[in-house]
């Protein structure tokens, strides 16, 4: 049995999802020889710390009733710096302008030789190369499957399963909120504003939907793919981005009459990273509806491989995180 001491930094939907999955899958993990012992959990207000293992079910209850994980006045960064452990699970919120607290958290983790598994897109979309280099210098593992496509495996699919292939391009739907709004606009012949309101009511879109509907979220995910798969040194400012806010229901009807659906498609290949609404033939593998994500990977040997899955959700994202954790220590 291998014991891995871990911290969970950031305890919003994803961090809580990770805690739930660790509780639920404790036995499965032990069956494959892994004992993931969470020695610290930190959110923006405080931390829970126990070198013998934090009781995750208690922390989950405390977070839901009191709004914080614990009374220890330690920041995530202090936890990473001062508490001895091997693995940092970094699930703080994405900040695309500065990288947020995630960026110093990850840098500190690597400087202390710790491995990082993250769902936080901001630092990777801004400073991928720097992070990857520091991780390498310190002999740390750095895994981030959860940053792109939620539960839909894409980075590890390409790096592991499709190893040996040259990747020609990746294109797909990388934002579930936009996919939902476009799908519903087409179904109901309704305006963008109406369907945005519906998705906000359902919790699919945020109160401030800019990040999703202007294509920024999809652009960040593409940048992560561009840097990690295509070895580019791009930031999201290099992406040619058009969102979905100007799309009219009439245009969707015209597309439909001609055998197309309209989807917000992200595309990355050598020298090109762009996000914008595109016509996709009905019945094409990329024409998935609802909040689903999808990606087609074009390779030289395997041809085209298409995957689809849930792009968001706390448990779905936690699935990608757990898979990264297992792949490091198994």
């Amino acid at each position: 049995m291998k014991t891995i001491r871990a911290s969970i930094i950031g305890f919003g939907a994803v961090g809580q999802g990770v805690a739930e999955v660790l509780l639920q899958k404790d036995e499965n993990l032990k069956n494959i020889g892994l004992d993931i012992k969470v020695v610290a959990v930190a959110d923006s207000k405080g931390a829970a710390i126990d070198p013998n293992g934090v009781d995750l079910s208690k922390v989950l209850i405390k977070k839901r009733t009191e709004g914080t994980v614990g009374s220890e006045k330690l920041t995530g960064l202090e936890v990473i710096t001062n508490i001895d452990h091997e693995l940092v699970i970094e699930t703080t919120p994405t900040d695309i302008d500065t990288g947020g607290v995630g960026l110093p958290n990850m840098l500190a983790a690597f400087e202390h030789g710790r491995d990082v598994v993250t769902s936080n897109k901001g630092p990777l979309a801004l400073k991928y190369r720097e992070l990857a280099e520091i991780a390498k210098e310190n002999g740390s593992n750095f895994k981030f499957e959860a940053t792109v496509g939620g539960a839909m495996p894409i980075i590890n699919l390409i790096r592991d399963v499709l190893a040996g292939n040259d990747i020609i391009s990746i294109e797909g739907i990388l934002n579930g909120t936009c996919n939902y709004i476009l799908t519903r606009m087409m179904e109901e012949q309704a305006s963008y504003e109406q369907m945005l309101a519906e998705s906000q009511e359902l919790g699919i879109a945020e109160t401030d939907p800019t990040y999703d509907v202007e294509g920024i979220d999809a652009a960040c995910k593409l940048v992560i793919l561009a840097n990690s798969i295509f070895d580019m040194d791009a930031t999201y400012k290099n992406v040619d981005v058009t969102g979905i806010t100007k799309i009219t229901p009439e245009s969707l009807m015209l597309a439909q009459d001609d055998g197309f659906v309209v989807k917000l498609i992200g595309e990355v290949k050598k020298d090109l990273i762009r996000v914008g609404p595109r016509l996709v033939p009905v019945g094409h593998p990329l024409a998935v509806g609802g909040t689903l994500n999808v990606a087609s990977v074009q390779t030289d040997l395997a041809g085209t491989v298409t995957i689809t899955g849930r792009g968001a959700g706390s448990i779905e994202t936690a699935s990608a995180i757990i898979s990264d954790v297992i792949s490091i220590y198994r």
Partner: protein, 168 residues
């Protein structure tokens, strides 16, 4: 451009080669050859149908090379538009001079707008249009799409172009 051509060959060995050599020497791309050996013409020649792609300016050279070597050219027709595409535009399409938008494509000589469906919900609201475009080849279609995007950008129109389905 793609050319379909009906030729007639004498019924002696080596004639087909006489017809195919000029195409390959002029860097044409032979797409199909149908040799109707069973359908001899009243003149005793054998009809052959060729389809090939060749640069426009080289077609006459090929025809004269055929004639010089005794290969009869019965018909040479250009299949002008090989590529069919569709694109959506959203915005103030009419008020930004749709005639000019269409002319920009039509005046390229390699692509044409062949159909336009327009939806104008209300005055002041943005219109939506689906344009069907024909082009002589894939590259020309891409060029036409790029041109349309440039024009649309100047006119503040949103363009929704098809995904590249070639590799699928």
């Amino acid at each position: 451009m793609r050319v379909s051509m009906d030729i007639e060959l004498k019924d002696i060995p080596g004639q087909l080669l006489l017809a195919l050599n000029p195409i390959s020497e002029l860097k044409g791309n032979l797409i199909s050859v149908v040799h109707h050996h069973e359908k001899r013409t009243p003149r005793g020649t054998i009809p052959v149908q060729l389809v090939f792609e060749i640069d426009h300016e080289k077609l006459n050279t090929i025809i004269s090379r055929f004639e010089d070597s005794g290969v009869g050219v019965v018909r040479a027709g250009e299949e002008r538009f090989l590529e069919h595409g569709a694109i959506i535009m959203i915005g103030h399409i009419i008020h930004t001079d749709i005639q000019d938008t269409i002319d920009k494509i039509d005046s390229t000589g390699f692509a044409e707008v062949i159909d336009l469906s327009l939806s104008m919900p209300r005055i002041e609201k943005p219109s939506s249009a689906l344009l069907k475009i024909d082009a002589v080849g894939k590259k020309e279609m891409n060029d036409a799409m790029s041109l349309l995007k440039t024009v649309a950008k100047e006119k503040d129109l949103l363009v929704i172009e098809p995904i590249d389905t070639e590799l699928m």
